[in-house]
Subunit: 355 residues, 2 copies
C-alpha cells in the first residue's frame, strides 16, 4: 500500500505516521466540534416491484388503544424488493462525488451513524470532511422494510445472537461471551467500546439468506440514480459493491471495502472493467484468531491480488501491520474510528477524489 496524507508528499509509512500524529485531522478537526452547511436532508426508496397475495384468511385487530377494532384482509398488493437511502446533501461539498455508505449483514445504515458509545461515527466524520453522504438500508433491512414469508420471501429470517456478534465481529474469542456484561472477556487491547456492546446489539436487524439477487438489483438501481459516487462498504456489502461496480464501472469512482467478507472469484468473473476504479481494502485485528475470518478473508485477498495484476489501484490497509492494534470487525465503531477514518480520507485525497 502507498499512503500519502494531504499535507505531505512523502512516502507511505512516514505519511501514515504524520496522519496518525494529527496531520490530516487535527484536534480541532474532531467531528464533534465541526459544523457544516446542509442544503437538504432527505431520503427515498429505490427498486422494488408489486407483488400480489391471495387466499390468506382475514383477521380482526385493534390497532390503537381506544380505537375501534378493524377487520383486516391480508390479501392484496404490496411493494417488495425496494431499498432505502438517506442523504445529507452539503451546500458546498469538498468531495468530487457523493459518498455512499453500505452496511453489512444483519445490520442497517445505523452502522455508520453515532457509535454505540455515543461518539460520532463515520457518517458525521465524512460530513465534516466535506462529503455529501448517502447512508442506505439494503433490501429487507431497517427502513427498507421486509416482506411476508414464506409467501414472498422464500425462507425464514435469521436473528443474530449477542454471542455470535461478539465472536464474529471479533470483540472476543470463542466462548468469551457471557449473558452478564460484567463477565464478558474481550480480546486484550480491543478498540471496541465493550461497555456499549448491548447498546450495539440493539442495531441488529433480522436477515434472510435468500434475498441476495433482489438486494443486488436494488443496489444497482441506487447506483444508476445517484452516481457517479464513491462507495465505502462493510462486510457482507463488499460483494454487492464489487458487483455494482462490475455492472456500472463508469459510475463508481472508488471503493473502500471495510472488512468485505466476500468477493467474486476472478478465475470465473472477468474483472478487467474494474481496473480504473481505485480500491482500498481495510482490515482490523485478530483475524488470524477467528476460524470464520480466516475463511472469509480468502476470497477478498484473491480478488485484490487479481485486481492489482490488472494494473489497477488495489491498496490495502492492514491496521495491525501499521501499528494500529485492537480493531474489531466493527472498526467504524471502535474507539479509534476517527483515526482509521482519517487514513481513509487521506487515501481519498491521494486518489484525486476531493476538489
Amino acid at each position: 500500500m502507498q499512503f500519502l496524507s494531504r499535507c505531505s508528499g512523502r512516502s507511505s509509512l512516514l505519511a501514515l505516521a504524520l496522519t496518525l500524529a494529527g496531520c490530516a485531522v487535527s484536534p480541532t478537526d474532531s467531528p464533534a466540534d465541526r459544523s457544516y452547511e446542509v442544503a437538504e436532508v432527505g431520503s427515498f426508496h429505490v427498486g422494488g416491484r408489486q407483488v400480489t397475495l391471495a387466499g390468506l384468511p382475514s383477521r380482526e385487530i385493534v390497532f390503537t388503544e381506544g380505537a375501534a377494532p378493524r377487520k383486516v384482509d391480508p390479501n392484496g398488493d404490496f411493494e417488495t424488493g425496494q431499498m432505502y437511502a438517506q442523504f445529507v446533501r452539503l451546500k458546498n461539498p469538498r468531495a468530487r462525488y457523493p459518498l455512499l455508505m453500505w452496511h453489512g449483514g444483519g445490520l442497517a445504515g445505523t452502522t455508520w451513524e453515532t457509535k454505540p458509545d455515543g461518539a460520532p461515527g463515520w457518517q458525521q466524520f465524512f460530513l465534516t470532511q466535506g462529503h455529501t453522504v448517502y447512508v442506505t438500508d439494503a433490501v429487507e433491512r431497517g427502513r427498507a422494510s421486509w416482506s411476508r414469508y414464506p409467501e414472498v420471501y422464500k425462507t425464514e429470517p435469521f436473528f443474530r445472537t449477542k454471542q455470535e456478534g461478539w465472536e464474529l465481529f471479533r470483540i472476543g474469542g470463542a466462548g468469551s461471551y457471557d449473558s452478564d456484561p460484567a463477565k464478558r472477556i474481550a480480546y486484550p487491547g480491543t478498540q471496541f467500546p465493550v461497555a456499549a456492546y448491548d447498546q450495539f446489539s440493539k442495531q441488529g436487524i433480522p436477515r434472510w439468506a435468500t434475498n441476495d439477487a433482489a438486494t443486488q438489483t436494488a443496489y444497482d438501481a441506487l447506483v444508476q440514480k445517484v452516481c457517479p459516487c464513491v462507495i465505502v462498504v462493510h462486510s457482507q456489502g463488499g460483494n454487492f459493491a464489487i458487483n455494482a461496480a462490475l455492472h456500472a464501472p463508469d459510475k463508481i469512482k472508488a471503493i473502500i471495502a471495510v472488512e468485505g467478507s466476500g468477493a467474486p472469484d476472478p478465475d470465473k468473473v472477468d474483472i478487467s472493467a474494474l481496473k480504473n476504479i481505485p480500491f482500498l481494502f481495510v482490515w482490523g485485528d485478530f483475524i488470524d484468531q477467528n476460524t470464520s475470518w480466516k475463511q472469509y478473508i480468502v476470497a477478498p485477498n484473491k480478488f485484490q491480488k487479481a485486481l492489482r495484476a490488472q494494473g489497477g489501484v488495489a491498496d490495502r490497509l492492514d491496521l495491525p501491520q501499521h501499528g494500529i492494534k485492537g480493531n474489531s470487525h466493527m472498526l467504524m465503531m471502535d474507539r479509534n474510528s476517527d483515526q482509521v477514518a482519517a487514513l481513509v480520507q487521506a487515501w481519498m485525497d491521494k486518489n484525486g477524489l476531493m476538489k
Copy 2:
C-alpha cells in the same frame, strides 16, 4: 382556533390568510432553497432489554455469495423493545426546544422525510425553520428492528395492502383502488401525489398489534433522554404522545397531533396534568366520507373538548374549514404540505416555542 402568524398581531382568520399568502413562509423560504448549519447528524437506540431464547434447532446458512457456509444456532441473547431516534442538531436553532417527529401505524420515520414525489417533507421544512429535529422509528419499525415471533412477540405481524392504505389514508373512497395505477380513482381534488402512491407504499413497515406497552415504554425513555421538547405526531402515534405527556408533563412543551387516531378517555384518565401543554389538532379532508375515520375521530375530539374544559390550549386546524381542501391522512406528503407546515409553524410562533 386562534391563529397568529409571526408577522401579524391580528386575529385568527386574517392571520391565517396572511400565512397562506406567504407571510410566514415566502417563496424564497422554500425548504428546497434554504440551507442550514448543522452541528451533528446522529442517532441512537433507546429502551429495550435482554431476552434469551433456548431450545430452537440449528441451521446451516451461506450468508454471502462466495463465503463459506456457517452453522447457525438461533438460541441465545437478543435485545428487544428498543426504538430508534435520528437527530439533525442545528448549530444555532431558532426553536427553544428540539422537535420530535413521531410516525403512525405501519410506517416509520420516513413519514417525515422526503415526500414520495421527491419534494422536501416536513423534516426538511422544520429544519429550515430553525428546529433541531429528532425523527424516530418506534419499537418493531424500521431501524428500531423487530424480534422473533411467537417466541418474543406474541402474535404475527400485519402487512398493510396497497388497497387498505389507499382507502384508510383517504386518498380514494371504498373500492376506488386498482392494482393498475392507471385505473385508481382518487377523491376529486385530492392533494396526495397520486402518481407516487406506489412509491409511498415502499415506506410501509409490518406491524404488530401487541407491542403497544413496549412502544410506550420506549417513547417514555426517549422523552427522558432528549426533552424538554415539542412533539409533532401522526395517526397511531397520537396516543403514545399523549400518554408520554401524561407520564412526563413537565418535559413536553407542546403537542401537534396530525390526524391522531386515538386518545385516552378523559372520563377514565385524569388529564389535568396536560393543561399547561398547548395542543394543536390538525385534520385533513374527506373524514366524513370514510367509515373508519368517522369512528377514529370520536376519541380525539372528546379528548380535545375535555382538554379545553381544563383551561388549556387545545386548538384545532380543520383544514377544509379554512378553505384548504383535498388533504389526505398523509398530509405531510400532500402537494400542499409546505402550506400546512407553515400553519403549524405559525402556531408554534404564537405559542412562544421559538426564540
